[in-house]
Symmetry: C2
DNA sequence: GAGAGACTACTCGGATACAGTCTGTCCGAGTAAATCCGG
DNA sequence: CCGGATTTACTCGGACAGACTGTATCCGAGTAGTCTCTC
């Protein structure tokens, strides 16, 4: 998959954004420090989310990112596609169209092999599409101790991670 | 996806092998010439199929590759996995395990985000697993004029492509 | 005509080079909150 | 105490370098049919 790390990082960052009190911004620096990621590179991932209008940005101090919609209105597929641009998992070459005896009406639609791969990819997308960011965040919260995740997020909000 | 071209090429070659009369071998050279692919590089893809025991090889003149099992007993997922090695679409980094407040019993199994991506990947695999090479070959045949595909395959078998 | 040797056509595996993408860093420009400073 | 200038902390976007992987080529070794040559 294209931009492997970015997809993963974007999901982790969105989960934080989804847990924050509504309206609150969080900076790239805060997210990078919390997750131990390279700030500038993570920033590029967040920029893509911004371009896809999944998050809103605010410049200046106290600025940063926040969700542009309710977390229940964002699917995990939205996030993955925002990062991966329009990249498909499968990119056919032009093998097929060079062959003789092709039926004219089938050339433009790709071969049976293309259709096979695209169908599989649709299932992949469908699976991601069926989970909203809200559900993912709730599910992620359960990976932590009681209130553990909330504690982490408020640490991010209050910049406590910088004191160490 | 890892080795994009190899996955595609392997599927095209397997479709030829599935159409051939049983027991007949076809050489890398023949397949490469027919599809207009670089012989030596295509050869590496076929070697992987051989290693996965999907195809059998025979050295010497008249040698080459043939299917090791009936085409109905090979799924398209078998072929894709044979090429892609054990590569997963999603490769998590160690972001998750570094966080505080994690529940001990959840650390080793990966985070909710890992599970999300793996679930999507399972759907992708399931889709490929549900189509056998036999079905793919039949479907591919329909992309051609009546008997067009059969004509192509017998051209390969009789090495007619070299005369041009 | 039969058998031994040379030849040919293929597979197999490793070494290597090139290109493209992923990963990561750096910097300058723009913006807005916070701070400072003079009146 | 007020208002304007400065500082600070962030986003945004581009340029760039290094590493990794995908793409492709080449070569030598091994194997098995095929051909030739000799007896």
């Amino acid at each position: 998959m294209a931009l492997r790390n970015h997809v993963e990082w974007a999901l982790y960052c969105c989960v934080v954004l989804a847990t924050l009190p509504p309206g609150q911004y969080v900076s790239t620096k805060a997210l990078a420090a919390f997750y131990g990621l390279p700030k500038d590179y993570l920033h590029k991932a967040l920029q893509r989310l911004s371009k896809a209008e999944l998050v809103e940005t605010a410049p200046g101090p106290m600025g940063g990112y926040r969700l542009a919609k309710a977390s229940g209105a964002i699917t995990t597929l939205d996030i993955v596609e925002a990062i991966g641009a329009s990249d498909s998992l499968y990119r056919p070459t032009s093998i097929h169209s060079r062959l003789p005896f092709l039926r004219d009406d089938n050339v433009s639609e790709g071969s049976a092999i293309d259709r096979l791969m695209y169908a599989a990819e649709r299932q992949w997308r469908r699976s991601l599409h069926s989970v909203t960011l809200q559900e993912l965040a709730q599910s992620y919260e359960r990976d932590f101790d009681a209130d553990g995740w909330q504690k982490n997020v408020s640490d991010i909000r209050e910049r406590r991670w910088l004191e160490t």
